[in-house]
């Protein structure tokens, strides 16, 4: 009886030096997949290869053999010996393999909990294997289910909700203040990768208009073009404060370029409209006292990092919820898979009894050639009732047993007792 298994290594078990030796790009992976599947040891196979994990999901009679075959072939590409990789491999089969697959897809096994890329990678791996005709019914069922579980985790828990990068954390804070960012005006002071990234995120969320200023006028104009904004002279920054909602600063200035007094002055015309400073500069560009002013919020780089850390803790808490959800889904999946295992036996049992019934009914008609329609209906109904009543108890019992996990010996016994032929016929 072939068995589902997963075997591989990830950031949790193997150093980058090994992972980078095994990870392969799509074209190469296609070749390897065809070879591994073609060897005839695995009836189904999907290979997931990312920078954090290389895993083989398969269905094989002897998982150990299949695993050696797959990783020998994966290693060949960059000349890595199987013996080198083998101690780092984990292998899980049956229910544990199902659980592993669900956890990976739901980003519960990721280096950064809840990171969104993994689901795309999982989908690509599946599509590639399908393309190579290496996917059979079992893996198809498993993987499509894994996608559904991943989606469920994303919508029902907040595993991926809160930002874990500084620039996104800033955007999220802005949303906690303003609700929507649609139509919120932004002033970007100075240049820097992180500040530009934050500005881009804000623009993506509908922030408008964008003002840009820089000590170097040419640089200000250049950035204004990149962000579809307006360049403002550096000297006019204090006046611009009054008209915007969000200010991102990131200059190399040795001392604050936005003074508390400037902000206080601009507040008079604002009618308590909130003003949010995102100060990414080191040393800080905004005088710290600004945060004490009414309706003004000022976050420096350390504050933002603190928010990120808190978000990570929040993800950990949500991960517990997600784990419980995965656990439930695994139970559902295995129950159904086991159900599927007894279904062929039940079907052939029913077919067998039906054949007997048909034969005996025909014989009865032979004896009673003059039977009228009513008699015939009675014979049909009676014989069907007998078959159904005989089938009822074993059908229920088999389904019950299948959930207990001892299904195989029982189905075999049923086959023996009723002369249903070898188990091979089921496949």
């Amino acid at each position: 009886m072939p068995e589902l298994f997963v075997s591989g290594l990830s950031h949790k078990t193997a150093p980058i030096a090994v992972r980078e030796q095994l990870a392969v790009e799509e074209d190469k992976l296609r070749e390897i997949l065809v070879d591994v599947h073609g060897a005839g040891v695995l009836s189904e196979v999907v290979i997931l290869s990312t920078c954090n994990r290389v895993e083989v999901y398969g269905v094989a009679d002897v998982p150990g053999e299949a695993r050696a075959l797959a990783f020998r072939r994966l290693g060949q590409h960059r000349g890595v010996d199987l013996a080198q990789v083998e101690p780092l491999l984990y292998t899980k089969s049956g229910t544990e393999a199902v659980q592993h697959c669900f956890r990976v897809a739901a980003s519960l096994d990721s280096m950064l909990l809840g990171e969104p890329q993994i689901l795309g990678q999982v989908k690509d791996a599946f599509a590639l294997a399908q393309d190579c005709q290496a996917v059979g019914p079992l893996l198809h069922h498993l993987w499509t289910q894994a996608f559904a579980v991943a989606k469920k985790v994303r919508t029902e828990t907040e595993l991926a909700r809160h930002a874990v990068s500084v620039s996104y954390a800033a955007v999220e804070l802005a949303r906690k203040i303003f609700g929507t960012l649609e139509g919120k005006a932004v002033l970007l002071i100075g240049a820097g990768k992180m500040s530009e990234l934050a500005a881009k995120h804000l623009v993506d969320q509908g922030a408008f208009p964008i003002y840009v200023t820089n000590r170097t006028w040419a640089r200000a104009q250049e950035m204004a073009r990149a962000l579809a904004g307006t360049a403002v002279p550096f000297g006019a920054r204090a006046e611009t404060l009054g008209t915007v909602d969000i200010v991102i600063t990131s200059t190399g200035a040795p001392e604050p370029i936005v003074r508390r007094a400037d902000v206080e002055r601009c507040l008079q015309g604002r009618r308590s409209r909130p003003l949010f400073f995102i100060d990414i500069g080191v040393p800080r560009d905004v005088e710290p006292g600004v945060n004490e002013l009414e309706a003004v919020f000022c976050y420096d780089i350390d504050d933002l990092r603190q928010v990120v850390e808190s978000n990570l803790r929040e993800r950990l808490r949500e991960a517990q919820k997600a784990e419980a959800l995965v656990e439930r889904e695994v139970a559902k999946f295995t129950a159904r898979a086991q159900d599927l295992e007894v279904v062929p036996t039940i079907v052939s049992l029913r077919e067998r009894l039906e054949a007997i019934r048909r034969g005996e009914v025909e014989r009865a008609y032979g004896i009673l050639p003059n039977a009228d329609a009513q008699t015939r209906r009675a014979i049909e109904a009676m014989s069907q009732a007998i078959v159904n009543k005989i089938l009822h108890a074993p059908t229920v019992k088999l389904r019950e047993l299948s959930r207990g996990g001892h299904v195989r010996s029982w189905t075999e016994m049923v086959h023996e007792l009723f002369g249903l032929g070898g188990r091979g016929e089921e496949k």
Binding site: L173, F178, F297
Partner: protein, 269 residues
């Protein structure tokens, strides 16, 4: 009959309170749905209880202070269910329901007949006065809760240490909008209600306040709300200041309630 209904409604609200608080901590969608169901069940029972009560005593169920408070709770629950959807603030129930349940419990604890409305006041004119004022107050419950939530969230944002509440509470903007909406909703009701009361008092007693502490305090509360509304509309007040006023206004309303319960006056004895 109606006592059983009131008690069942109260049980529904208490259950909903517990569920809403659990949802606040655990944030499980399933628990939230249960909390909403329990709230709805409580509210339907509450509605029935009020109707049955009205039929049994042969007048609108507004004759005692406890009955009036019950109407406030009834309307506040309805408003909360609406606002939770309108502003997508699922944690609102966790803040409002404890207040409603508390008022229900303390109302049930008061002896029957306590502070019944003076018989001279049992007429349709007064019923309208009471119902308008109570509906206004229900909106101010929402106004108060929104203000408290605003202050909590603002504190979290200012302190820069996102705690559990930071994740659970909505944006400042949403809270400010909700608080303002509750104010604009409640103010006309309170104004009309008080106006009717004042007109009646003038006709019947020849004086508007006539040694009635409840009337005095409610006028004070009206002044606070009028000032907030004016500040918001004219001077563009918002955010923290508006939230403080919402809290102060509600504080004065509680004093009004206290005055009604403890001080002698013309509303009842």
């Amino acid at each position: 009959m109606n006592l059983i209904l009131f008690d069942s409604a109260l049980v529904g609200y208490l259950l909903a309170t517990v569920l809403a608080l659990v949802h606040l901590v655990q944030r499980q969608e399933a628990i939230y749905r249960l909390a909403v169901l329990a709230t709805l069940a409580g509210w339907v029972l509450h509605t029935l209880a009020l109707v049955v009560r009205g039929v049994e005593v042969g007048r609108p169920p507004l004759g005692t202070l406890v009955e009036a408070m019950s109407v406030v709770g009834w309307a506040a629950v309805l408003l909360t269910l609406w606002a939770e959807r309108q502003y997508r603030v699922k944690v609102l129930g966790a803040f409002v329901l404890p207040l409603v349940a508390l008022s229900g419990v303390s109302g049930a604890w008061l002896p029957p007949g306590f502070r019944d409305l003076a018989p001279a006041l049992r007429n349709a004119w007064i019923s309208v006065h009471v119902i308008l004022a109570m509906l206004g107050i229900a909106a101010f419950v929402l106004n108060f809760v929104g203000g408290v939530m605003y202050l909590l969230q603002e504190h979290q944002l200012k302190a820069k240490r996102p705690g559990a509440l930071y994740y659970r509470l909505p944006s400042l903007e949403t809270l400010d909008r909700m608080t303002y909406r509750a104010l604009t909703l409640g103010f006309p009701f309170l104004t009309l209600g008080l106006l009717l009361g004042a007109l009646w008092a003038r006709t019947a007693w020849g004086s508007v306040f006539a040694f009635d502490p409840l009337a005095l305090f409610s006028f004070l509360a009206w002044l606070v709300y009028a000032a907030t509304l004016g500040g918001r509309a004219v001077a563009g007040w918002r955010g923290r200041r508006a939230a403080y006023f919402a809290v102060v206004g509600f504080g004065v309303l509680l004093l009004t309630l206290g005055a009604g319960l403890l001080l002698p006056g013309r509303h009842g004895s």
